[in-house]
């Protein structure tokens, strides 16, 4: 028998700091979108308020949640402790100030966003350094390391390309490549960083939350190969403006995502836990939706409406794949963090609540269902240019986001 005495618990104040900041950013981003609804419906995505809202949602909420979750999950998935927790707290403050000031500056004066952007970059670089130092201690790197490591590289590229965009806007540097850099920035951030990260951690969390055993892992290699090839080919197509390469890239991304969907379905079929938690079921549902959106984007490429459809499809991808996945897992991660903080020392001494008792699971189905419907309403309103539908959809979405944020924060009272 091989003994293992390695603990895996992180100081919960660290992931919680990120998660609480993220919930505030989420609410603010929704208010900004609501106030600027008319411009979105008119197809004006590239306006300061939308830049600010998009970065608050993607960086303030999703990135901060991802960082917080990684501080908790990396020790779990890779069996190695966080390199330096104190450094983690410093990184939190630098990143939080950077993202807040960057989003504010994008709103009031985008040309002056370079300095806060550099501050934010510093915070993200500190995070990348922390993760690099942590992952290098891993005894046996595996396919999860490849997914998460590649996601971190994509995060670096996203930030680098984003800073290049601001620099280009300010000085005219590489102006002829502005469109290509902008598209690459989106590709690396949305499909590179977030998707690869969710893929990687899903391989740990899906079997854990469904208690699956005896499933094959070979498919993960094909997922990684196809998706990485798709990212590379699509990236190259942006710079040489080759439509065949773009189509090939989109097909590879779709193929990689499809194999991932198939693989997760194999894992879930091998589960012991017959009835899955609702929030986890929605996270699984998000995989199917992400797959459909990849297919829709590939099909749209063959039509004359691609330039009109791609903006709304990116919106759909962000909300129904990335945000829904993160929210689904957040309903599992936050109760765990709070339970560990409050009850782990009481275990074995007296009766303690289960994780299900800590989070109000009853709200999941109504909240998440309304969320999906509201996102679809906003998507259709942008396609059909209906301000009424947009206002209704976005209003409901903002309310649901706030309700979800308050439900998650409500865990702290249990």
């Amino acid at each position: 028998m091989v003994p293992n005495t390695m603990g895996s618990e992180t100081n919960i104040k660290l992931p919680f700091s990120f998660i609480i900041f993220s919930l505030v950013a989420l609410v603010l981003s929704q208010i900004l979108v609501l106030v600027n609804g008319q411009m979105l419906v008119d197809g004006s995505f590239r306006i300061p308020a939308i830049w600010s809202a998009a970065h608050l949602l993607v960086l303030g909420w999703a990135l901060m949640v991802a960082m917080g979750a990684m501080y908790q999950l990396v020790p779990v998935a890779f069996l190695t402790k966080i390199w330096n927790e104190k450094f983690g707290f410093v990184q939190f403050f630098v990143t939080a100030i950077g993202i807040a000031s960057f989003s504010w500056m994008l709103y009031v004066s985008p040309q002056k966003a370079l300095v806060p952007g550099i501050f934010m970059l510093l915070g993200i670089l500190m995070f990348l350094f922390q993760m690099f130092m942590t992952l290098r201690k891993q005894a046996k790197p595996n396919i999860l390391t490849a997914f998460v490591g590649s996601a971190l590289v994509c995060l670096f590229l996203t930030i680098f390309l984003g800073i290049t965009l601001i620099f280009s806007l300010q000085t005219g540097f590489a102006a002829q490549f502005y469109q290509a850099i902008f598209k690459s920035h989106l590709l690396m951030g949305v499909t590179g960083w977030f998707t690869l990260l969710i893929f990687g951690f899903s391989y740990k969390m899906a079997p854990m939350f469904s208690l699956s055993h005896g499933f094959p892992m070979i498919h993960a290699r094909y997922v990684y190969g196809l998706y990485m090839a798709g990212l590379a080919v699509t990236l190259i197509s942006f710079f040489n403006d080759n439509s065949y390469l773009l189509k090939s890239g989109f097909f590879l991304l779709f193929a990689g995502f499809s194999v991932f969907t198939w693989h997760v379905s194999i894992i879930i079929k091998k589960r012991l836990k017959k009835k899955l938690d609702h929030s986890f079921s929605y996270a699984l549902g998000a995989i199917g939706l992400g797959n459909l959106i990849h297919l829709a984007a590939f099909i749209a490429l063959w039509t004359d409406h691609f330039s009109i459809l791609i903006g709304p499809l990116v919106y759909l991808y962000l909300l129904l794949w990335i945000v829904l996945s993160i929210m689904g897992y957040l309903f599992k991660i936050v109760p765990f963090l709070w339970w560990t903080y409050k009850y782990s020392k009481e275990m074995g001494k007296k009766a303690v609540p289960s994780l299900k008792d800590v989070m109000n699971e009853k709200v999941v189905v109504p909240f998440f269902s309304v969320f999906v419907i509201a996102v679809l309403a906003v998507f259709l309103s942008i396609i059909f240019k209906s301000i009424l539908l947009f206002n209704i959809g976005q209003f409901v979405l903002s309310i649901v986001f706030v309700a979800i944020a308050l439900t998650i924060l409500g865990v702290l009272k249990k």
Binding site: M1, V2, P3, N4, T5, M6, G7, S8, E9, Q72, L73, P75, V76, A77, F78, L79, K204, P207, M208, F209, L211, H213, G214, L272, K273, K274, K275, F336, W339, T340, Y343, S344, K345, M347, G348, K349, A351, V352, P353, S354, L355, K356
Partner: protein
């Protein structure tokens, strides 16, 4: 009831908070050894390496055994081999999972 039986009974009060099944029915306890001086050694595993509840569950097991009046020193030995498998669960544990 001898000390070993009391230890196993006490371990039934330690639950995996995610699955809400106790560590005995979940098949996590491999051996319970009690010496003549009533020192207890519990050899156990978890359902997956790197389980985030690693520290909580092993500490819970220790506290539960220490709570028995007759026991003296308690040692909890966490092992990954042989790996946990569903076959190690009791019929009650499987029933609680809906199987």
């Amino acid at each position: 009831m001898n000390v070993k039986e009391k230890v196993i009974e006490a371990l039934r009060s330690v639950y995996d908070p995610e699955l809400n099944i106790n560590v005995v029915d979940l098949g996590l306890i491999y051996h319970v050894d009690v010496t003549v001086e009533n020192d207890v050694n519990v050899t156990m595993t978890l359902t997956t390496p790197g389980c985030p509840l690693h520290d909580s569950i092993t500490t819970g097991v220790r506290y539960a055994v220490q709570g028995i009046e007759e026991t003296r020193n308690v040692d909890v030995n966490l092992v990954w081999e042989p790996a946990w498998s569903p076959e190690k669960m009791t019929p009650e544990g499987l029933r609680l999972l809906g199987r």
